[in-house]
Structure formats: structure tokens, C-alpha cells
Amino acid sequence: MFAAHAQLRPSYDVVIIGAGGHGLASAYYLARDHGIRNIAVLDKGYLGGGNTGRNTTIIRSNYLTAEGVKFYDESVRLWKDLAQDFDLNLFYSTRGHFTLAHTDAAMRTMRWRAEVNKHFGVQSEAIDAQAVADALPMMDLSCGGRAPVLGALYHAPGAIARHDAVAWGYGRGADRRGVEIHQQTAVRSIELEDRGSGPSVVGVVTDRGRISTRKVLCAVAGATPQLLAMVGLKSPIYVHPLQAMVSEPLKPWLDPIIVSGSLHVYVSQTARGELVMGASLDPYELHSTRSTFDFAESLSMHMLEMFPFLSDVKIVRQWAGLADMTPDFAPIMGTTPVRGFYLDSGWGTWGFKATPVCGKTMSYTVASDANHPLIEGFGLDRFRRYALTGEKGAAAVGH
């Protein structure tokens, strides 16, 4: 599906670090929309082997801030004709998305989100317990008597897609336009020069040799702090694992995507019939993709509170990815104080849905050396200015 290149060229116009969805989408749009094709995409592992291939693929735009809603809504729009663009089935499936509220405080947040969403033309509504019961007859609305459902935020455009196909589609599209994808190529350091006007990028050192370049796009998710250390930048990013698991395949019974913040559960059923399930972040810093039994145990317990009839269904796989978290649950994107070093990071537990719009906005930002208007609320300097983009109410459990 991709050309293999025996050697790195001595120089490229742009070097993209990370062949996940974000890096590949950026390469694709740089080549397709900006005419920049002398690009290398480097990955220390294999294409799509990072969080792109580990995520639970929820796509939605029912966020809380104006910046977030506009950004994710543009992404949902881009998703719709992507399969056509790629000539590849992405199994993009619009299911509808319910975020359950079990407390008055949660209900208030749902109403708030619904109003912000509607203001920007995004379909969202706060619904009451009866409407939830009508839509989700398979669920125990009392949740085992422990956390009765009071209502929900319903978001009709909520969708899932096949994550691997997204990486392959962008990768193949970039590859066909002349972009070189180098897997098994780890970036060891980044060379800077300073001629008095501040540092700028001049090269990248990899375990397969050195490359000259003036532009580097860093899209490495959980490895972002290591890459930032190479160029001497500080950031608020902290890394915790995020785990997920799937059940054996079942006959289709669950069409929508269901999220419960109070029970720390979200679930959807894939086209293959597996239930894909996840919870919130692991509770402390760790740079290891190990799995824990505690996770599977507590997630199963909460699943059974909602769906007691699943008690003899088996879990068949469990895994983890490394989430690059930010204090305000919004990403960190755009130009940086190092000239020619562009950042696409802070994607934590919520960046899969943003893959197309990140590619669009980061390719623009790299090509024109200026932030795309849609990412202005996401700059690294917002912390120094205490101007946070508070997205926690819409991103802490539902990814």
C-alpha cells in the first residue's frame, strides 16, 4: 500500500514526526492543497501504531467552548466525504451520541453544552429521563439503583469510524502524491541555529541518519514532552495511560454511542459486533502501555450496572495508549517560539475525531508559517497569558 524507501534524502522541505492520523493527514493536505510534496513522515514504530490505532473512534462536536465547537464541527464536516476522497471504506457510521446525566450538576452542564452547540449550528439537545428511556430501552435507567439517569445530552451527528483505515487512507493519499513515509525511523534530536533573532530549525537527527530541513511538524501524541525537550520548550503536557477493551462479537443490539461520566463508562458497538468500551484516564503519570486488571474489573462492573444482561459476555482484548493531557482539555497547536517548529499536540484522549481538521489547519500553518484562524484558541502561549480554553466539562470521560 505504501512505497518503501531504502534511504532518507539529505533534505526535505518539511519533516513530519509521527505517522499517526494527524501527521499523515497533515502530509496529505500539504501535498494536495499546498503543492508541497518534498516531505518525509517519520515514525519510530509503524504507521498508525500509536494512539490512532488504539483509540475508541468516537467522533462528535458537542464541546463546550466556542473555539472547540467550531473546530470539531469543521472536522465532522470533513469526515463525511473522506471515504470518497480516499476511495477507501472508512466504515464511518453516524449513530447518535448520548451523554447521560446522573446528577443535577451534570444536567446543568448538558443544558449549557446544548445551548453553546445550537448557537454554532451543531445538533445537540438536553433530553429528560423519559426520552432516554424511549431511545435506550435496553438500558437499566436506575443503573443498579446507584446512579439513576436524570436525562442526557443527545447529539445526533455522533459517529464512529475504522481508525486503521483513516491512517491508511491519508498515508496512501500522501504516498501517491510523492510524500515519503519512513517507518522504523526514530527522531533522536532536532538541530537549531540562532543568528540573534531566536532559535530556528535547521535539521533532524534520526537513527537512520541526519536530514536538513527548515520546517518540522511534531505530531507525536504521548511522546510530545520528549520532543519538546529536544528544542528546549516547556509545556503543561503530562502523560497518563488511557485504557480500553472490547467484548466478543454480539448480534447488533446497540446502535447509539453511550457515555456516562458518573459511571466512568462509554460504549459503542462496531460493525463486527464487538462492544468497544472505555473509561477515564489512569490516575497517575506513566509512560507505559501496560494494561491493568483493575481497569477491566471496574469498567465491567459499571457496564453491568447499565446493561445487566451482559453478565456472561466475554472480554477478548484490552490495551492502552499514552495520552498527552493538558490542564484545560484543549489541544496545543500551531507555531512556537522556535521558528520552523510546529506543534500538533495535547490531543490527550480526544484527538481522533479531529484528525481531518488537524491535517487541514496544520498543513495551512506549516505552509504559510502562520496559525490557521481555527486554531487561534489553542496556542502554547495561552498558559502564560492565563487565557485557557476550558473544555473539561465536555472531554473528561467522553472522548
Binding site: 520528549q226 503543561p236 503536557i237 507505559s288 483493575d294 498527552d324 490542564p327 502564560r384
Partner: protein, 88 residues
Amino acid sequence: MKLMTCPVNGPRLISEFVYAGELRPAPDPATSDDDTWADYVFNRSGVAGIKHEWWCHSPSGVWFIAERDTATDVIMRTFLYRAPGAAE
């Protein structure tokens, strides 16, 4: 389940503990400029390594320091905090 040793209560399940971030010296808010303060409030050393961290054993409310490798999750030791310069 993974165990952690509380300096007061001994080995307990890791689920009994709450992680509260890396131990970091605070700049003096009266004299530090805005950039220094923002750096302290927001920026973190996100790179994996051996770190000193605040933890709390929540059933007993004991706060203490753990020395832990954030690449492997190996806990080297745990001990009660003593402020720099405090008497023995």
C-alpha cells in the same frame, strides 16, 4: 493489584492512594514575575524519569513522598515529607 507502601500504614492497594503530582519548589509569589508564576502554575516536566511525587493514603489522610520511575512504574521508596531546613 499493585501495592504501594504508606510510610505510616505499610503496604496497601494502589487504589487506596491519590496521586497529587511532582514535588516542585514554589517560587515566592510576592517577588516572582508573571512569567515565573505561570511557569510554576502550568508547566510540568512531562518527560519520563525518576521523580519525587506527592501521594496521599486517602483512608488515613497521610500525605507523603514517593520516589517512582514514571517509565516503568517501579516505586523506589516512600517517606514522609520534611521541609528543607526543618529540624531533625
